[in-house]
Subunit: 127 residues, 2 copies
DNA sequence: GTCACTGCAAAGGCTTTGCATGTAC
DNA sequence: GTACATGCAAAGCCTTTGCAGTGAC
């Protein structure tokens, strides 16, 4: 047993993030919890997100919407957001780690994380 | 003469962005304008930023702060933000365009822009 | 006068904080 | 009982909107 308490809210949020194909925002999480008949509100969700972030279970991302989105932490991957239909695609085979290494050496800085998002038009919306 | 009206607010904001080493937020812009004895407020600044964005003079970026920052549009470049002292360094010689090309071909998507920010510890803060 | 720019007030959305209540151990 | 999780209300920012006033042409 570790010391992490597993409450219904936390467990359900992790469940929701795990089965979401793209990063979700706080409103979506609240809606999911309520659909599961869990009484909750945004404040609780924000606090759970803080907790999960601190534990390193999730990542916090931005899509230039003026709000944050969250997703289960996974291996290095990035997102493509269609500016027409808002669909989000994962970009996972992008070799950014080589760049990160180069930059670290050249600049003498220590890179702990990075954000990389692509914006454009998806395959469907080009038709 | 083009049809772009050059008001004191707009000219001064462009001046400020031009001489800023890193992206600035709306509060910083308001402060700069007031220091120049220009009466203004946030709403006006937001509207000027919309105008400049639409004209393609500036870019809007996010540093995971829950707000937007703005900078003069320049050639492809990115930012490194020190998580300790908040200093921002430009990362300009990063060959991401190759990756963009690859991804476009592989996924059949059309990439119009991307955001790439690095977070970590700068040279000074490692001492 | 017309049109665009600006200013003020208000509202809306996202996020955080304070405090009280509830729950697990 | 203690420590932590949750809920509600309120507040704090950032940003947008409505409407009136100002100024350039």
């Amino acid at each position: 047993m570790n010391s992490i308490s597993r409450t219904p809210a936390r467990a359900t949020i992790v469940e929701f993030l795990s089965k979401s194909y793209s990063p979700v925002d706080v409103s979506q999480i609240v809606n999911f919890l309520r659909a599961k008949n869990l009484s909750t509100n945004k404040v609780t969700v924000y606090r759970v997100m803080d907790f999960l972030l601190e534990k390193g279970f999730i990542d916090k991302v931005e899509f230039r919407e003026g709000k944050f989105r969250y997703e289960i932490k996974r291996d290095d991957h990035h997102h493509f957001i269609c500016q027409n239909c808002d669909v989000v695609e994962d970009i996972s085979d992008c070799n950014i780690s080589v760049l990160v290494e180069e930059i670290q050496k050249k600049k003498g800085i220590l890179i702990k994380k990075h954000s990389l998002e692509f914006f454009g038009i998806c395959k469907n919306c080009q038709l």
